[in-house]
């Protein structure tokens, strides 16, 4: 499990599938999830479980649903207090359609 060496800024709370997770102001959402042992963030019918791979926005495997938005890259967004996250489910036959 990823662990943090120091916490430089104030603590906030975000929610993963209704479970509260502590995060700090300015932290990447994918980093928060990994620190709490959540490796798999999205599931596709044709791909199975996937999670953060590149952490820089090129692989699109860390997709999550954020509040009312679907299929957002967790490595590209900053955690906000009270943010509600859910696993992105793509049950279409391909990785491309019907998930936006």
């Amino acid at each position: 499990m990823f662990r943090q060496l120091d916490t430089p800024s104030s603590e906030i709370t975000i929610f993963w599938e209704d479970r509260p997770l502590s995060a700090y102001q300015g932290e990447l959402v994918a980093a928060v999830l990994l620190r709490h042992g959540i490796h798999s963030t999205h599931h596709g019918q044709s791909t199975g479980s996937r999670g953060p791979y590149c952490m820089m926005g090129v692989c699109f495997d860390c997709l999550v649903d954020v509040d009312n938005q679907k299929a957002i890259q967790a490595c590209q967004i900053i955690a906000n207090d009270g943010m509600r996250l859910n696993r992105h489910m793509n049950m279409a036959g391909t990785g491309h359609t019907h998930d936006a």
Partner: protein, 469 residues
Amino acid sequence: MTPDYDVIIVGAGPAGMASAITARQSNLSVLVLDDQPDHGGQVWRNIRQNHQHHQMRAFLGKDYWKGHQLTKDFLNSGSDITHQAVVWQISHPLSLSVTIAGIAQSLTARAIILATGAYERPVPLPGWHLPGVMTVGAAQTLLKASSSGADGAVFVGTGPLFYLTITQYLDAGFSIAGVCDTGARLNSLSTLAALPLALTQPNMLRKGLSWLRRIKAETPYYAHVSDIRLEGKEQVEAVAFAYGKGKTKENMHIPSSHVFLHQGVIPNVNLSMASGLAHQWHHRQMCWHPVCDRHGASSVEGIYIAGDAGGIAGAGAAVASGHITGAAVAKALTLATSPKRALWQHRIKRLHHRALRPFLDQFYAPLPETLIPRDENTIICRCEGLTQAEVTTAIGMGVAGPNQLKAYCRAGMGRCQGRMCGLTVQALLADHHKTPIQDMPYYRLRPPVRPVTIAELAALHQADHDISG
């Protein structure tokens, strides 16, 4: 109509920041669009915040802190800077479509500099798609952006970033379950031929050697690693591999829930390809890069390339190249010439940094099994979940090139738009048809180069209509 800016720069990494600083010295109006939350690019990611805690985060190392001065100069340069800005199209004459905070807009400029940097070469090994398997660069990003690391991880790969990140992990105090070195092959004539030029940069060579010595002393280190498999069901549970040479080859199995892969980096060419710039194959680096002159001017008038987006040479060369390109753009737009002395210093610096590169490219060449995967169950196209068997079956049905392959099996048609499978598909096709790799084209890329919602597009057209109406 007057353009919105003299220069728009895409990317706020070493090259983007340096070109902005130099362009601003000629009083050009500059906008920098960057898709990350803060400036610094990948190499100096989160440097503003980390610098405030630099005593606690000394493990990031000397080369990281070197970026602080440039980022300060960049912030003081008078450039407009917008972060989390996703550029998805460049049209002619020079205009650029970008989404900022969910709103798409179109911006015009007299010149555009693409400083889109590099990303890590995809590593299609059996099981590389499993959660828990990440790139070494991703592990380093978590160190820089979140001061986080994972104890008991296994590092698999080769290259400067590979050894640097492991050293940072050691300095930060994380335990390492294994280092599986796939590279360092001093066995070809071309590697030896590149050595004399590399020896002109003894400090850089010495740094690399000291990393390696330390890693060998302080971690379970395995040399000449091949036949790698990442095992697990829902997430990675272990790494299996062979190590050693010839008759002394042995098999090894290390349980771990974190595996970090690295096989070098490649230029980020999706935007330059989709913008119609000419590209060529780089034999030594085994990747595509835009064709440009020594000032960074591309094949399309008004579009320039700076830094690793034009070919891999590292952060030091990227800074020099950014200054050189910034000066070239200033000269083209204002006829002003930069102070000759400064320009020559940047040119010499770039030469120094490039001197080591041919040796590094050969010495840390990607492992053959990651270039042309032979295992049938290895995922090739991550987005569509396509295996090697599915892709090679489609190829065997008579597919001539990557674009036709899309119609047969949807390879390259997912969200990443070929970033994770493009080179592998090109290599598999070239292998099947016995064609030299450089003669097999890449996917034909088209804008938008990032997923865009219909709502964003509709808002953009409405805005255009408002302006013209």
